[in-house]
Subunit: 443 residues, 2 copies
Amino acid sequence: MQGKTEKVTPKVLSGFMELLPAEQILFNKMLDVIKQSYELFGFIPLNTPIIERAEVLLAKGGEETDRQIYRLTKGESELALRFDLTVPLARYVAQHYSDLQFPFRRYHIGKVYRGERTQRGRYREFYQCDIDIVGNGKLSIINDAEIPSVIYETFRRLGFESFTIRINNRKIFNGFFYSLGINEQATNVLRVIDKIDKVGLEEVQKELFDLGLITETVKKIIAFINIKGDNTEIINQLRNIGINNELFVEGINELESVVGMINRFGVPEANFSIDLTIARGLDYYTGTVYETVLNDYSSIGSVCSGGRYDNLAECYTDKEFPGVGISIGFTRLFSRLLEARVIKPSNSTPAQVMVIPLDNQLDKAIDIASKLRRNGISTFVYLENAKPPKMFKTADRLKIPFAVIIGGNEAAENLLSLKNMETNEQKKITVEQAIEVINKKRE
Amino acid sequence: MQGKTEKVTPKVLSGFMELLPAEQILFNKMLDVIKQSYELFGFIPLNTPIIERAEVLLAKGGEETDRQIYRLTKGESELALRFDLTVPLARYVAQHYSDLQFPFRRYHIGKVYRGERTQRGRYREFYQCDIDIVGNGKLSIINDAEIPSVIYETFRRLGFESFTIRINNRKIFNGFFYSLGINEQATNVLRVIDKIDKVGLEEVQKELFDLGLITETVKKIIAFINIKGDNTEIINQLRNIGINNELFVEGINELESVVGMINRFGVPEANFSIDLTIARGLDYYTGTVYETVLNDYSSIGSVCSGGRYDNLAECYTDKEFPGVGISIGFTRLFSRLLEARVIKPSNSTPAQVMVIPLDNQLDKAIDIASKLRRNGISTFVYLENAKPPKMFKTADRLKIPFAVIIGGNEAAENLLSLKNMETNEQKKITVEQAIEVINKKRE
């Protein structure tokens, strides 16, 4: 009935990840691990619309955001796609706070959209995995110490051992800059400081002078950058740097108490440390900030970042909601780990068994499949008319662990042949015995 | 630092569902059940981009689709949001077929977008939960009999007992219309037939004449509509209606063999039946078609529909991929079930325990929480400075099943008080004993 028509080339847009089955199964498995970790700490799942009014999403503004956001036309009010999960959280809390219990612990795993120029490892559609603890009016600093334990648990469960949660407090920076009278230049100074690993101390010093800073100020900044040691040593050096600005001291106190409590939440000393160079953007975080680095793959950059903010929903309400949270940019992380062969896809199907009917034993094969499924075993029956080698090849390529073969002989004895597809071992047993063997392998 | 600014009203767009925590948890739980059912049958999870090139999504065309689709502007090629999961599947198979194993069994649970005029129970952003079995060149009719067993398993696991999977075959309709020479008027005739439950036989007859059909034809149509009985009786009446059109007979044969096999896949007779009135759109399905009705809530309409198609990816490739699949429009189903109080939200958090520190026993409380979490128990520690009644009220409102109270007395004895929040029963026990009690309740 349909004539040959012009074909449209089947392809996805650049910057949009699409996976083949084996990779997708691994991707989902890792997302599940993150979800389970978040739930272990009592975070509540949320799911907000991907499309919101542009006015809502852009309430905070920002040139970068405005440039990257996807806008929609639909003959209605101006719409846009969310570019993170924090703005929707802010809107959600402002809208629904009277129905929520505080502190409100929520997680959100979902896709967000940013029309960035595409480059290696950057995506325009990607998953974020966020947790936030939001207080109504106030929120204890102890929450800032619990967050690293969620990061720790999550990355342990994802199979990592050697990673470092780096912690800082924005009040230290801010107080430091205020006390030097250079808070107006904070952005530029931070940009210069940020280069230290690339260009070295001397060049940084030169660039600070280029900004027009006086010798005394540059000296203090260099002294600040040079603070090193373990967590206790860093706190002590900060206290002795000769700055008495109130905010600065408050930052030190907060950092000290957070770092002092993290261990109690079960995070080993080896997995966290103070890092005074972490800033995480200038206008959002107001206290504790976090970054997380996989020590063996530090080129990936921070795999989990976040921090404390004073006022989550100020664009939508006069009520104050301070909070602390983190985010894993999972799509990029997954693609980098895959590329580095840190993770490897295996099965291409959730099926644990393929039931292969021989000698026209299809009815029997379907009976066995139903029985396996009733016992919770994911089962694929080969229903097509094909030669046995083709059926086995399909099972093999899908990396299905077991094949159940039911031919005339097996049917006559009311048995089946269970084949371990990895070892090629095959034995004639009852369906009940097969269920036992398959379940044992699953554990 | 930030002055008071104009506030943006925090609200979501109409036609977009957003849930409070307890509803969201129930929503996720039900989606999980669907996912597990689909995986039990060896379907592979896919996840394609929500944004695709408009050219790809609109390849098949259709006025309705064109009107409803969300278009995007981003200074690139024309983009749009997917409006179903079938078109992306077609594109995926056409693009990746050389990397896939056939028959390709995939499931996809994801959001789709349709800018419909909003009305009760209709959403512009909603979840579809799809499965499809796609063959390379051909696909056995037995797959059409397996699909109802997936529907059956899924709705059973969702807690339903009384539902009917209604089955038809489009070839019967098509062959019937061809043989009467009215295939050009098929759309109009079907529209009239569809009204039978509302307007009755006489009015239908009148409207058929109004379409200009001759008496002989109207008689045949009425005879066709009047076919009733159990599955075997319907098949017999179809065979005896006096139409020998090849397509018509092929349709009867297919329907007979599908219905004859469904039972073997474990679906009880009570849960499926032939229904010759099911058409499911005119230009897509070519063989078996399904609808599913919850017998006690038939006003919801079909909760799971689908069918067999000859050529999935014809817009993208010359290769032929026949397939069969179904879809659950979950967002609408959820909202209708909630409205009818068929389902009821309960817990507002995944947390099974709230640890409540009294007498400054925060350190001890954190230790206990860490231990509970290491044992897989979702735990919320109350870290805020609050009076005990407020803490208990929070636990109560979140419907957390247990509270662990750790005060000076408990700490001194190295015990804790475990309170069952439902029964208010409280006892002083060790943390190990508490873990046992909580895990027992979970099972």
